[in-house]
Subunit: 354 residues, 2 copies
């Protein structure tokens, strides 16, 4: 089965996705009988379209070259003009997928939200690593996907290397989710670990994460707790039908944490972690993000550096905890690949192929 | 969508499945638009058939009554005669599923293996909590399911409450599994924890697990490491195309562990856990089960009592660990329910329904 991809975004994550897709080409064909090809790459100023799809070699090369706008075949144009970037090569033979690895405004979801809505109307399935459209209008996107009979995948927007949404959707299918809580942001967990274990100041620890290039591009969203809030909001809306907005989430970040506080907690046998939590309270879902000084025996207290973790509590399976160390670009790219494979397998079943 | 179920086995697990299915009826209808009904219950001496399907109330009642053979409508007969128990009510409208919660021989997989193969030929999907058929002929069952276009689900046979196979299949889709290792047996983990933390002898700890009724019915399979070996073998065959048999697994159980050894390890800062592991070594997959004295900082060393845990190492996502405390009957029943829901959702997509 051929999957045709329009890749939006060619920064760190978009390029890593291209590199991973090219490298995993043979595996996807052999293991899943999937031939996933990128037919267009679009950035904020224009894009490159390849009507036959980029070969693995070319895709891999382009991921290593300088800015897309200086690459061969680049045409300036409005990135939101899908007639330019997708229409020329979309067909009904196999699934067409838009992979979105761009930035959008958290309040409006734009420009990503309108783009994705338009794409569903064109019959494109969605794989989004971008959170903002999902934060701004989760149910609108779900409804658009339903109406146009396309799939909406977003594991890359809900902790990527740590497979949260798929765990809820499949591994906990049939169970009712009572709460979701997690350490969902790599940057802040790294900062807090460095402050605890090495006695670094907040500023020095933050500086180090910049130097390390941890995946989230805007450290403001990380340290203010907004990134965590977005992820837990999306999960609560998806898994618990919370029907909440970002403004419903009580958010406290880590910017006010001092070395003195950390030392005091340490004497109490506690480690502070930035925890996002969505919990059923009666018929309502309460969502909150805050630093939590946890006793050392708490599983979360052991989750260190750039690792992330999540705990699901359900009626049938009690508490299920997961933790993953992969917090970088490869895991982000891998999450888009995971979504593509799952999307393709479902598409295949729909066609009647086994 | 109506799912018609033939339930094989009405011991602890089968009854709990019936109870949970009845209790979750309204949720399944509201959340998944699934009407899952049991049409027959079959045990080793015969069964009960209800051509219109048991109501939730009746199913719930039967799960609380004495042995099936003393219940209303019971007919003696060969449990393997599917013409008696399934043929009268199977139709093509929705999926028909055999839920197998019975015991079978580990070497031959019988009587379960032949039963499941026959069932696939009749167009029944398979949800098995029983490991033996999968241990005896995994690839035969996979091929039979493929040939007859039915699904083969077995999360209840691969650690139930801890969702291993679904994590690999969906959450790690696109990634190549390099190793799978886990604490996969509740009984032995409980014994080892009690020996460590409370200084119990092996015999006293084993006795306590019997009194607690931990789900695995035959403690021999637990303490010899065979239960763990079965689970990791099934996972290795399913996820790594290992092509191995139970005889290929090197197995050491916990029966030889003494309190003195445990005390020595404790002085070294180690906790012993029964670990099953499948790892890629070149082109081959090596599978082994053995007690492992782990340093306290190892995640597995913190997994206590009847909890289970697993660690997946893949090319894209590094190490992903999961741990769940639910080791009892409800989680076992829940795993069959999880499989049913996932099966139904896939069936629905196949029919073109969104």
């Amino acid at each position: 089965m051929q999957i045709k991809i329009c890749l939006y975004g060619f920064g760190n994550v978009g390029r890593e996705f291209a590199r991973v897709l090219a490298a995993k080409g043979p595996y996807l064909k052999a293991r899943h009988r999937i031939d996933a090809k990128v037919f267009a790459i679009v950035t904020s100023t224009g894009g490159v379209v390849e009507p036959r799809g980029f070969s693995e070699r070319e895709l891999s090369e382009r991921s290593r070259l300088a800015h897309l706008s200086s690459q061969e075949g680049f045409r300036e144009g409005d990135p939101e003009d899908l007639s330019k970037w997708i229409l020329p090569w979309i067909d009904g033979a196999g699934p067409t997928v838009i992979v979105d690895a761009t930035w959008s405004d958290l309040d409006t979801g734009e420009p990503g939200l309108s783009r994705l809505l338009k794409a569903t109307a064109m019959g494109c399935h969605i794989v989004t690593l971008s959170k903002a459209p999902l934060v701004a209008d989760f149910y609108g996107l779900v409804e658009a996907a339903r109406r146009h009979s396309v799939q909406l995948k977003f594991s890359g927007a809900t902790a990527a290397g740590l497979p949260t949404i798929d765990t809820i959707r499949v591994s906990l299918a049939g169970a009712e989710v009572q709460s979701i809580e997690g350490i969902l942001n790599s940057t802040t967990n790294y900062i807090l670990t460095a402050m605890s274990d090495e006695g670094l100041s907040y500023e020095d620890a933050l500086q180090r994460t910049r130097a390390m290039g941890l995946a989230e591009s805007d450290p403001e969203r990380d340290v203010t707790g907004i990134d965590t809030a977005c992820k837990v909001l999306i999960l609560a809306n998806a898994a618990m039908n919370a029907r909440k907005r970002l403004s419903d989430v009580r958010i406290t970040g880590i910017t006010g944490i001092t070395r003195r506080q950390i030392a005091t907690w340490a004497m109490e046998g506690r480690s502070v972690k930035l925890v996002g939590k969505a919990a059923l309270v009666g018929d309502d879902v309460r969502i909150e993000v805050a630093p939590a000084p946890l006793p050392h025996r708490d599983f979360f207290a052991q989750v260190r550096e750039d690792a992330k973790a999540v705990r699901f509590t359900t009626d049938l399976f009690g508490e299920l905890v997961m933790a993953g160390g992969a917090g970088g670009l490869t895991a982000a790219a891998g999450s888009a690949l995971r979504d593509l494979v799952n999307l393709a397998e479902l598409f295949r079943h729909r066609q009647g192929g086994r």
